[in-house]
């Protein structure tokens, strides 16, 4: 039967990045935040949360294809921030919805050797058969 519906399943991606990488061309150390699967993955938002002090720098997000080529998608400027018992570490959420082809990956890097958790809230979908 051909259903109007698709089936959705949560696909939350997490990675901690901390190895300095100044490259914009997709080379160097990248962390894999999420791998798209099934008929595709809808990324609803991306959160970046420092887990310590930060200096002025950058976190970069890349889309990588099935061949391993990584394409710079977005840069997020990181401010200098001193974490204390009452001062939070840096945090930001990017709310651009983004559809990722099955097998493609969202990756991340950091300019400075500082630690960030990158979390993606996403859902995979599977079309019901016709």
């Amino acid at each position: 039967m051909c259903s109007k519906n698709a089936q959705y399943s949560a696909n939350t991606g997490n990675v901690t990045i901390s190895v300095a990488n100044p490259n914009l061309n997709g080379t160097g150390t990248l962390g894999t935040v999420i791998v798209a699967s099934q008929d595709g993955t809808l990324i609803k938002n991306i959160s970046i949360k420092a887990i310590g002090n930060t200096t002025l720098g950058m976190v970069r997000l890349f889309v990588a294809d099935n061949l391993g080529n990584a394409f710079l998608l977005q840069e997020v400027m990181i401010p200098a921030n001193l974490q204390t018992g009452v001062v939070k570490t840096f945090s930001t959420t990017i709310n651009n919805a983004f559809i990722l082809k099955s097998g493609y990956q969202l990756k991340a890097s950091t300019q400075n050797a500082e630690s960030f958790n990158v979390t993606v809230i996403a859902t995979n979908w599977v079309n019901c058969p016709c």
Partner: protein, 273 residues
Amino acid sequence: MCTNSQFFSDTGMVNIATANPNLNGSGVLGTVLVALPGNTSSKGTIVSSITIKATGSTTEGMVRLFIDDGTTKYLYKEIYVPAVTQTSVQPAFLAVLNDELILDPGTMLKASTQKSESFNVVANASAWKDCVCDDVSPFGEIQYFANTGLVHISTPNSNLNGTGPLSNIIIASNSGPLSGGTQVPYVTVKATASSSLGMVRIFISDGTNNFLIREIQIPQASQTAVEPTFRGIIPLEIFLKPNHILKASTQNADGFNLIAAASDWLNCDCPLS
């Protein structure tokens, strides 16, 4: 209840350049789109937007759109064209009409230009076929598949006429007669290094001809460890016909990634009415 429909992307494209001051449908008109004829079971074509993009400098004038039912050509709209001097950093004239237009099968959308200046006219359209009405029919649904387009460009190309080096951002899938096409809501342009004042251009190709649809002005920007490179999100909301291609070029030898977060759709089979 009546069941659903099948949808098929039907991108229409033409370049017009021959002067025609007439409002009565006579003279040289370019055919943007022919709504699929009824003998293919099509019930009509929805034109969701029309892009008019000059491929060079313009003087004050007019582009006119006509609806041709095969017998008579009816003036539908006039689009005022201002004087614009196109340069490597100044985009040529662009207008996007978002008024939805529904064409009967076989009806044509045509265009003319007041002045002998070059314009691409691109209709973002989809034809539909009705499934049979049936209280219990489960047919006529659509399946969607993510299709992410990725390309890096850096070879300079100053042409607006579709010649010179162009790179494919995404190719609309064609997996058979039920393939509807590919929907591209927007394209992200992200520089991969410092950029100089220039332009990135986006084209639609039918596999043979390339039609300019957008120019994105690129600012001068110096990339550092704490200064991001240029990034732009270009809303397109375009439906690409199967095998049609979205392409890109850069004015200067600066590096850019173009990323299209798109989805292909496949109609489920159904008995057509």
